[in-house]
Symmetry: C2
Subunit: 323 residues, 2 copies
């Protein structure tokens, strides 16, 4: 490993001057800078982040903690974050809370112990992370006041509900995956609120109530809305098995816009999060905090986008299948 010292010796100046020349802190004649840079390149000098970290007390590393790395959004967030981060010379260290609050705080601790300069965390369902000694951005849901930035889950719910209402549906069933998830609650709240009294809605939760959902459709509901694309795919299976055709007999919507949404048939009408935007803002928040500025815009909400595909259409009149 070629160090700043060797360059100094080679050029015949002091290490400090080399440092100054290389980091552009001024105070060095431009011809000296040139010479130093030349030698540095020639020797293949790479600054030691470890040395710098020790001196500056900053590692240039951010920690990313997600509830479950298996989360369908993780890849997209991680990708955007990693791109945005290394544009600023920052690295991303991953931590997995493994679907459990204890592990979440352990993951947080491990990262802090490693000396991360900041934290980006998508909280575990129902387990808000305790405050950490480094700047932290929380990516959660707008209804949580401690949130730093999030997609507008409720707004997305309204958006897609408006689409369904606009098609003329009067009876809809909403299926959530897990009651504990605030994100899903918000999505559903947005839908319900949008429908208000103009549309009759029934909310069901989880795999267990899938059969109730079929019953509800048999009883005349013309649209099924879910809180995730995967759930929608499940529903589609059951619907098909029970002889209902989508969207002819019943319209179906998802949420998230995963790759499977366009791969399935009929392609799924769903809501897309602007993940890059969310990731970028989260990063801006921590970096700003790290630089001692206050966070720009706490609790910011990034709008969702409605993606209309083939799984939704106007309701068709249907004869009752129950007496």
């Amino acid at each position: 490993m070629v160090s700043i010292k060797e360059i100094a010796k080679e050029v015949g100046v002091s290490p400090a001057t080399v440092s100054n020349a290389l980091t552009g802190k001024g105070r060095v004649s431009s011809q000296m800078i040139d010479r130093i840079q030349a030698v540095a390149k020639e020797l293949g000098y790479r600054p030691s982040l470890a040395g710098r970290a020790l001196q500056r007390g900053q590692t240039g590393i951010l920690g990313l903690v997600m509830p479950d790395l298996t989360n369908p959004l993780f890849p997209r967030i991680a990708q955007q974050l990693s791109i945005a981060a290394d544009a600023q010379g920052l690295g991303i260290l991953i931590g997995d809370s493994r679907g459990n609050p204890d592990e979440q705080s352990q993951a947080l601790h491990r990262l802090v112990d490693r000396g991360v300069d900041g934290l980006l965390v998508v909280p575990q369902m129902g387990a808000f992370p305790e405050p950490q000694p480094v700047p932290t951005a929380i990516i959660h849901t707008a209804s949580d006041p401690r949130n730093s930035v999030s997609g507008d889950h409720a707004g997305g719910g309204s958006l897609i509900a408006r689409h369904i209402a606009g098609l003329g549906h009067k009876r809809v069933v909403i299926l959530g995956g897990d009651r504990v998830s605030e994100v899903q609650q918000d999505r559903i709240a947005g839908m319900v609120q949008e429908f208000a009294t103009s549309v009759e809605t029934r909310v069901l939760w989880g795999e267990d109530e899938l059969s109730d959902l079929i019953t509800a459709v048999s009883d005349g509901a013309t649209a099924v809305m879910t809180t995730s694309d995967l759930l929608a795919l499940r529903v589609l299976s059951h619907l098909t098995r029970s002889g209902f055709s989508v969207p002819r007999d019943v319209s179906l919507t998802g949420y998230d816009d995963l790759p499977l949404a366009w791969a399935m048939h009929p392609a799924l009408t769903t809501i897309a999060q602007d993940v890059p935007q969310i990731a970028t803002r989260a990063l801006e928040i921590v970096t700003s905090l790290i630089n001692g500025n206050s966070a720009p815009s706490q609790g910011e909400m990034v709008p969702m986008r409605l993606v209309i595909r083939q799984s939704t259409s106007k309701p068709n009149p249907r004869q009752e299948s129950n007496p």
Copy 2:
């Protein structure tokens, strides 16, 4: 930040002794160790990884580079790796090659510059990473001799082909996603080899040839095999649209065992990789290399597992739909 020095002062010994006591390098009386540990805990001492890294020349951080963090396997690999890694006190820094060879080598460089002790890389399609100055484990495909550990893609192909052959299918169409992918080539090679001459096979590639696939099915193929679950979902869409029922008219298989495989209808027969095993082995290889030992078992192959669900069945005799 409480340092080793403060503990030393508090206890009335030298920093060196504290270090020895805390890192268990022996050479310290056990009662002294107890006292030091007590004080350390009381003061809330956390060792500075930066200081240690500088001194030891090791950061305790591994770099993980994937071709595209959006890759469906990324979450599972990242998760397993992160769990296995921090069991050993190692951290995982992510790098994204963004689907392009140039970015791949840049990502590698960035991580090396950051001082990672080792690298885990899933190579970009058609772009094998140049050798790096730190121990590296390549997670690729067994047919590549530079590979360190991989799922047995060809073996998985054989496995699922055997299942199809066993059901009695005589004419099958195989659909790959991207010709450039060696992984997909291997999967298909495994299938083709297993069928040998006993089953008539036709290999198609990409979204463009989906219509040919339908034609082939119309012409009498009774099974469609794909190199990924997502592709299988696509195929299912087209098949259904063209009036074919799965598995009645035609059997369908995927590869990867993504969540969507069981969510779709009919649930997909597919091949599951033992991702934890692969991740663990990859980690063992780099850590072993880091510790100066040679890699245990280069080029290891982790067996795949056949997951039989409802998308495959015996072929049904069918009348030709073409004259």
